[in-house]
Amino acid sequence: MDQLLKAQDVVSYIGPYTILHGVSLEVGHGEAVAILGRNGAGKTTFLKTVMGLVKTRSGILELDGKSVTGMEPHLIQRMGIGYVPEDYGIFDLLTVEENFRIAMWKEDKETLERRDYVLDLFPDLKLAYKRFARNLSGGQRQMLSIGRALVNDNKILLVDEPSKGLAPVIIESLAQALIEIRSHTTVLLVEQNFALACAVGQRFYIINEGRTVESGLMEDLVKDKELQALHLGI
């Protein structure tokens, strides 16, 4: 499978602290890959490093064969990465519609079709389209955050802990939506909720103390209780 995203020995710091000591992973076109690991392992920092929000000190980051190492976030985004951050990253003082419009690079037929697809995928957003984002529930905010990252013709979607703070019933519907999304978009998912990661991811990487320590097929991880206990504490 062709590589879409490649990270090789990525090292990054936040302030004086080294968070990533050497993360290496590959995501192929059309794949859904889950990054797993305990709290504080560096999963979120890795996604932020890919987006350029945390500077890469050493290592290589490539998207579709082109280096994105050290680039500014807005340029990385324009290369085709949709990012759904842990805290949703939506604008509370804007309406749902404005949140969509601000995310769109252009308002052509294809973009509007993608927006309509998102509104069909998350009907709650259609109902709340003219409402301010601050009035949305946690689940709706997550839907808006994912939906907003889908309106552009992105090559890959980076999703950071979509289940965080959400009720089980909402997580279930999010899992369904992410399974539907992965049928046409490459997805790199960071998730603590093992059930959701298993449902969405086809392959996995485990990060521990800022390093990639394990990788493989998700179905093998589901069977390997020892590995789960060692790195995920399940």
């Binding site: 976030p73 003082l93 804007l94 404005e98 419009r101 601000i102």
Partner: protein, 339 residues
């Protein structure tokens, strides 16, 4: 049909209230003394100056302590151009010159301040630049007249009555404020304005959505500088005088106070703020004149300062913020009563 529906959704009560307010403002100058006409004209022009500050502080979260550079330059350019030739053409030329000057100045300022990290550093740098400009103006007496200033020499025959009579000046300032309110409102509601609002809310989020945020901050700084410069030119006509005080930190703080009192991020707040700031200063000075024996009234700034402290303590989001909070409270009270 859609158009009819759209018309149907216009808030009739709100439109009627605005129309009544406008009618009131159109009628009252005929019942005013010259001092009151001047005060209102200043209120309208300083409201635009306040709006220019609101574009920065309220919509991008950026604090420029050198805003008076553009206001003061506008006042100077207004006086200099009108002294060359006392007619409408000169006034239009002054407006053109101030737009060019403010756009270039705003752009240059953005190049400097956007290299500094954070709001406080940017505020300090703009404060320093403002003081440098004021110092240069004070020493460049041949052009600026230094602290003595430059009076605007009026030739009543040549100049349009809009400028030369106080009633004309009132309407002229009112029209300026309304036009600028519409222009700046359109700017805020434009896609660029929405990006600015998103930057204010969270710059990092705007960046990972693909926006080069510094470019948008530069646009905001240029628009704000132009609005401040234009208000300076109009102020020149009303004040009929220019000196280096208009370039000083005092006039930047005036803009800051106007947005603080009125409320930020609304544009309308600047109108209310301008009215209160101008009115309270005039009122307290009048008190001193009316009661010369009362010692406390000899120190009007004591009251002005106390008023601002109380306002920040009890209405941190300004008068407009207070009005919105009151409206929210009324709505929830009404809902509770119904249920």
């Amino acid at each position: 049909m859609d158009k009819l529906k759209a018309i149907g959704t216009i808030n009739i009560r709100k439109t009627a209230a605005l129309a009544a307010l406008l009618a009131l403002f159109l009628i009252i100058p005929h019942y005013m003394r010259n001092a009151q006409l001047i005060m209102f004209s200043r209120v309208f022009i300083l409201a635009v100056y306040g709006m220019s500050y609101d574009i920065l502080r309220g919509y991008t979260g950026f604090i420029n302590l050198g805003q008076a550079i553009f206001f003061g330059s506008g006042v100077y350019l207004g006086v200099i151009f009108l002294n060359m030739q006392n007619n409408l053409g000169s006034f239009v030329l002054a407006l053109g010159a101030v737009i060019l000057f403010s756009a270039a100045g705003g752009f240059l300022l953005s190049r400097i301040v956007l290299r500094t990290g954070g709001v406080v550093a940017a505020a300090m740098v703009t404060l320093a630049i403002g003081e440098i400009v004021r110092n240069i103006a004070e020493r460049w007496r041949s052009v600026t007249g230094g602290q003595d200033g430059l009076p605007l020499r009026f030739s009543r025959v040549a100049l349009d009555p809009l400028f030369s009579t106080r009633v004309g000046g009132y309407y002229f300032s009112l029209a300026f404020m309304l036009v600028m309110l519409l222009i700046l409102r359109a700017f805020i509601l434009s896609p660029t304005g929405r990006v600015l609002m998103s930057i204010r809310e969270n710059e990092q989020r705007a960046r990972f959505l693909g926006y080069q945020t510094n470019r948008y901050k530069t646009i905001a700084l240029i628009v704000s500088s132009i609005a401040a410069g234009l208000s300076g030119v109009f102020f020149a006509v009303i004040a009929r005088f220019a000196n280096t005080d208009y370039l000083s930190i005092q006039y930047t703080l005036n803009a800051l106070l106007i947005t603080l009192v009125g409320g930020t991020g609304t544009l309308y707040g600047a109108i209310i703020g301008s009215f209160f700031v101008t009115w309270i200063q005039t009122f307290l000075l009048d008190l001193n004149r009316s009661f010369p024996g009362f010692t406390l009234f000899r120190y009007p700034m004591l009251f002005v300062g106390s008023f601002y402290i109380l306002l920040v303590m009890f209405m941190p989001s300004g008068i407009m913020g207070g009005i919105y909070r009151l409206a929210d409270w009324y709505r929830s009270w009404k809902t509770k009563r119904v249920t």
